[in-house]
Symmetry: C3
Subunit: 319 residues, 3 copies
């Protein structure tokens, strides 16, 4: 079966999910990101790689943060960026997703950055482009439903590699609402592909997918057990809508059981790093002393995220 | 009486409506668009014609699709584009339309792309600019009420000329909700000016303007009669709000009477082209087999639309 | 105590408020603005001073007008501008203001243009940047609560200096809702610093701050007395929400007492100028004959405003 993300030469043609990306493709993205990290530190933070290219941020679901990171990355590559707030647009007028895509392709789009509440929407678009002979237009998944958020997964890998160099001997704990998190799925796939020694899924039964063990992770319902001797702790955001209701008794109770405090962090390796995809709920999933402490690398993740997105876009545009 | 769209040398100074545009001005726009078509196919899709110019998309009515086409066109001409979502802005604070315009002119605007629910709003702005001695600031009508949508009309003419070369012997059917369509009015004016042999207005009595025959068109209430031996069929979008209520029994009934199916299309010339301004309601005004079939040129319209808008903007800025 | 707006060399590092700005810093901004005024008249309205810099318009409160003026100014300086409609974003998801700021700094922001409903929010951000060692990132206050709107104050000073050259012998009346106006506070500080002979606060008791006399102004409750022999009259916008309710009987009554009509204006110096920060409520605080009359310099304020914002941004980026 054709890998929908790669072209005939095995090069990246779309970034849809880390699931299915060969290890060398991931490594190539991370290596390319290294070279872009320096661009954002320049006085003139711009390279002309995507000059005259039209990048469309097609957001069927509002996410200012994610849209901003892609907009900055594209502008630093000198692309023309057009933001489409599709929630308020033609789809509301009854147009199908693929008609919207065809229209933008007819406007000579070079790249779509797609955010959609439905899992698989970016795949559908990539498949449609292939079927209509437009493999020269590229799709980047900026988050689809509960399924994937591959640039977040890649920047997490970049961060881990930056601080830990090698994945081979690492123990990584992913803590929190894994069930609803596209970040967790992307991270698990990436860590497995890159050969992390052990990945732990830590959270209450109600917030873990039933099949999570099949993804090759060790399940821990106890936070202390989950972070013990870890090299990397990835805290997940607890969505507000989960905090009170069927899945959880309350935010306070959650913090007592699964909030990362300095005391709990002390159980991990002394040089363990703490990551979070943001935005943080201080006092819910993470204590402020940890978030602002020396082991947190949360803001480095954000910086690396721009470089990773520049890398993905420039690789897609170059292939 | 002064033609508000032309300057003292008879050149285009504003694009407000196709009604009143001399044939040679229309032809000049279409010829200029030809030269821009190639820009969107380049590796670097940019020309420096509007570099350092400030183009304001002033949308008093939300239309992401139309705004996007003008934004792309302006960016490919290297203009600085500022999007004003005026619906959420100062007019809401009680400022008059002309005070808003005066303010933007004081910010050294070069061009306004205006969308307004009120027919005539772009005229009002152009008149005001003339009265205040600012004929160097240009207005492009991006759709005003039921009145006009001249760039859509021009791109439709570009499309017809592209596929049929000459207008002289053409029979063109415009099908659907002509009463509420600014596109239909613009198309009828353009086709009449360019000398199409016959223009037919096809639709139920309730969706045709009472004075439509005075515009020089032949009225047909029967779709089969309307498309018979046509060279060009322009399908109009049926607004959702018309579908059930006073004007029409239902969307399904409408499709049965006025939806373009392969069977009906077979009554037109074998080389007839099918056009639609988008977004389409598949299964309401047009069957998917037609929309995706070999005679549909709907996506070409979109591509030509960018070139036509680049042509209009560059002509205005050059005069 | 450290002046949070100045760096160790006494140069402008943030623009937070005119209160606390030394006279020579204000004069330097106005002089720099003079040199930018000509840029907006050029055929190519662009200078490369901020090329490759990332300017974030961070608007926690919607204000299309103000956002637009900063966006134009930044684009004419060749910056990359990213608009963040934070009201709809992560803060809504429970993220703290300073976490949002830290994230944007991690994306290598160079400048924040901040609008916030809370007085002091831009100070809080500037302090945080200082505390975290990021004095290289600059903050421009684009309006915080009732507190300050320094670029409006500066453009008002630019306008007065343009028409009156010297502040030493000027009598300036500020008329209207001084209590709720950040513009009035900024203007009073600037006029005092620049040495205006007399500043009058004119309005009903209910719309004047209780401590306004401590700011060095003369209070007048009578409009005729307030504008008599003035050189400059600054009319303030009456917010719609004040017009009926506890503070004022009605808009009509307000106009009768405090609306600037030609008759009242005749009491000022014959060469007096009339200013307004916009958007105007014609027939509420100002009569149309005055707004459109020869003494109004309201649109010049808008033009000067772009030059002043370009000056502020280029000074901050240069220091």
């Amino acid at each position: 079966m054709r890998n929908p993300q790669l072209n005939a030469h095995g090069e990246l043609n779309h970034l849809l999910s880390i699931d299915g990306l060969p290890r060398d493709v991931i490594t190539h993205i991370l290596d390319t990101a290294s070279s872009f990290l320096e661009v954002s530190d320049r006085d003139v933070k711009k390279v002309p790689l995507l000059r005259g290219k039209s990048v469309f941020n097609v957001f069927f679901e509002n996410s200012t943060r994610t849209r901003t990171t892609f907009e900055i990355a594209a502008k630093r590559l000198s692309a023309d960026v057009i933001n489409l707030d599709v929630a308020r647009s033609s789809t509301a007028k009854g147009e199908t997703l693929l008609d919207t895509v065809d229209n933008l392709v007819a406007m000579h789009a070079d790249m779509f950055v797609v955010r959609h509440a439905a899992s698989g929407a970016p795949y559908l678009i990539a498949e449609h482009l292939h079927r209509t002979g437009r493999d020269d237009v590229h799709v980047v998944n900026a988050g689809d439903g509960r399924h994937a958020h591959p640039t977040q997964g890649l920047l997490d890998m970049y961060t881990i590699r930056h601080y830990k160099q090698d994945f081979a001997n690492l123990t990584v704990a992913i803590v929190g609402d894994i069930l609803h998190s596209r970040v967790a799925r992307s991270d698990i796939h990436a860590l497995t592909t890159l050969g992390a020694a052990e990945v732990r899924a830590v959270g209450p039964q109600t917030l873990l997918p039933t099949d999570v063990e099949r993804m090759g992770v060790r399940v821990c319902h106890d936070l202390r057990e989950g972070v013990r001797d870890c090299d990397v702790i990835i805290m997940l955001r607890l969505q507000n809508e989960r905090m009170n209701g069927a899945l959880l008794p309350s935010a306070r109770e959650y913090f007592n059981c699964y909030g990362l405090t300095p005391e709990v962090l002390a159980l991990a390796r002394p040089d363990a790093i703490v990551m979070h995809p943001g935005p943080m709920n201080r006092g819910v999933e993470i204590d402020s002393d940890v978030a602002d402490g020396p082991q947190a690398v949360i803001l480095s993740q954000v910086s690396f995220g721009i470089a990773v997105r520049m890398a993905v876009m420039s690789i897609l545009a170059g292939n």
